[in-house]
Symmetry: C2
């Protein structure tokens, strides 16, 4: 252990628009002491994910906001240091939602052991974890791609998008990814095997997307909304499906832009094209986890699914990394390496 | 037969905004002569339905537009006058899509015989026909109301809406209808057994709707959109479903109103409330017809489903009746009595 102080990030204030570092407050505290049935966890990796922006706001959502002065929420991969819980022993590596801190307590509820294997333990936060399951379950339950169909996903080099495209191809569909910049687009095609990639920063983005989808769009996996949705929308085929798992384009919005409403056009298309637009949260499909874990581990072992992590070293960098994540500055699953993995020491 | 001339309405021009009588051209022609395999039909009832507004436009939709100079499309209940088709004999009463005319030919494809029973043959155009099936299948496949849930439907005194509310109650749900005017609202509660009815013309319509739905809205059967949707939208519960079968508020729109876009708010709600918004056309669920016909006939016989028709006499009145329909002037299923039923003569 590098330190026996608990280093934490608290929510200092609610953001107006994009979060700034001043919205976070760094805090050092003494190590918490586990009570009966509890264990002390040392965080190795902290996951940073766009949903955390929602927790910083007090707008009504599917989960309660982080209170002002409260610990920032987040999922971690951690090592059990001390355990009064019969199900866990020191040295166990676990997945636990203990937030933006270097140590934390848990009574074991919702905690899952991570077996060491051929992939890094950090993948439990990405391709083998919540983002991977989001892709898997959203496609299985709502997107339902069929062989020969066209599946489009934005934020395609991120952990959800990259899994969406690769699973779509495994299902026999054509995968078209949308990402920011030439490097990410090349990665989608060259590394992940997407059929096409379109840079949303291109001035003729909408035209490029239309050319990349000559047979229209059957499934649009919505992570983004905004101008990406506007370009996707006219390309929907009849009976297209749109799983909605994120609208990152609006997460920092302080109000809604004045523009011609597209609700009439949207609803007309929903009707005439028989679109299905359906929101979901990954936890709605928690029962898919066993199938997902089996399939995804197999696909990774077979080389059919690849993944990329964007690792930042040190919990002190978490706010900057998170602010960058909301701007698309990451390239792959964003994780913070909070402490060393004991087997690397 | 009152006349042996075929009286027809053709599309004279495409409407700009709301249709006017000048968009229609009356025409008298000699009776068509059935060829081999064909039959001559005499129309007794012509159905008028909102979807016909779409056929008058050349905007891309799920069905081709009526060409300028072409016969207005529509479903009819007709009597077989002469038949060279072995499946039909003179005197048969049939359901046939032969349009806004007093006589027409058919080769029998898509034609269904109507048995005379305890309900008028005109109900094949309404509660026992396309509008009834729309309600039945939209609820079965998308709305999926559960006992104790709240189902809201607009245009609730019309043929689709009245069936939606009554079927919802049969399924154990609470039915809230939206209609225009006190008379229609009273009808919903007193005659059809809706749990609540709200007049969309009331200045405090949105507040009244919220009071009528103290537990929120689980299913909104969308026939209307526009300001009704705006009032429904904030009341959606988690996992609410919205079958979209019409957006009559926009059918006469020539452009989209300038206003704050609600797409960001819509998509945020789709996500956080896990809404399911799905368009459908009744023909998508044609395979539900046998179940529907059995169930609905049973419900009518048991007095659990009631219906109301708004009958206009004379095909010459079809354009005025249709123009009124789009303004909500009808009260019940709009049908035009084109010719006498032979058993009434």
């Amino acid at each position: 252990m590098s330190t026996a102080v608990n280093r934490r990030w608290l929510l200092a204030s609610r953001p107006e628009g994009a979060p700034v570092v001043e919205n976070f407050r760094f805090d050092e505290a003494v190590l918490p002491v586990p009570g009966p049935g509890e264990m002390l966890l040392r965080v190795i990796y902290l996951s940073l994910d766009p949903y955390m922006r929602g927790r910083m706001s007090d707008a009504k959502s599917y989960a309660a906001p982080v209170p002002i002065g409260g610990l920032m929420e987040g999922e971690t991969v951690a090592e059990v240091m001390e355990s009064h819980n019969p199900d866990f022993v020191p040295g166990d590596i676990v997945l636990a939602r203990i937030g933006w801190q270097s140590y934390g307590l848990s009574d074991g509820s919702g905690v899952r052991k991570i077996a060491r294997g051929s992939v890094p333990i950090s993948t439990a936060l990405g391709v083998l974890g919540m983002p991977g399951l989001t892709a898997y379950a959203g496609l299985k339950n709502i997107g339902m791609p069929k062989a020969g169909e066209t599946v489009v996903v934005a934020a395609a080099s991120g952990p959800v998008g990259s899994a969406v495209g690769q699973i779509a191809r495994i299902r026999g569909a054509r995968a078209v990814g949308i990402a920011g910049g030439a490097e990410k687009c090349a990665y989608l095609i060259d590394e992940l095997g997407f059929d096409a990639a379109v840079d949303h920063r291109a001035p003729d983005f909408a035209e490029q997307l239309a050319r990349a989808c000559p047979d229209g769009i059957d499934v649009y996996f919505e992570n983004v909304s905004g101008k990406v949705f506007d370009a996707v929308f006219p390309l929907f085929n009849q009976f297209a499906r749109m799983p909605v798992c994120g609208t990152i384009a609006f997460y920092n919005a302080t109000g809604f832009p004045e523009m011609e409403t597209i609700v009439p056009a949207l609803m007309r298309a929903v009707l005439t094209k028989r679109l299905r637009i359906q929101g979901f949260i990954v936890y709605d499909f928690a029962s898919d986890y066993p199938d997902f874990a089996r399939d995804m581990a197999g696909w990774i072992a077979e080389g059919r699914v690849k993944y990329r992590e964007d690792v930042v070293d040190g919990i002190e960098k978490a706010p900057d990394a998170f602010i960058g994540l909301l701007k698309g500055k990451n390239f792959g699953k964003m994780v913070v390496r909070v402490g060393p993995d004991s087997i690397d020491e």
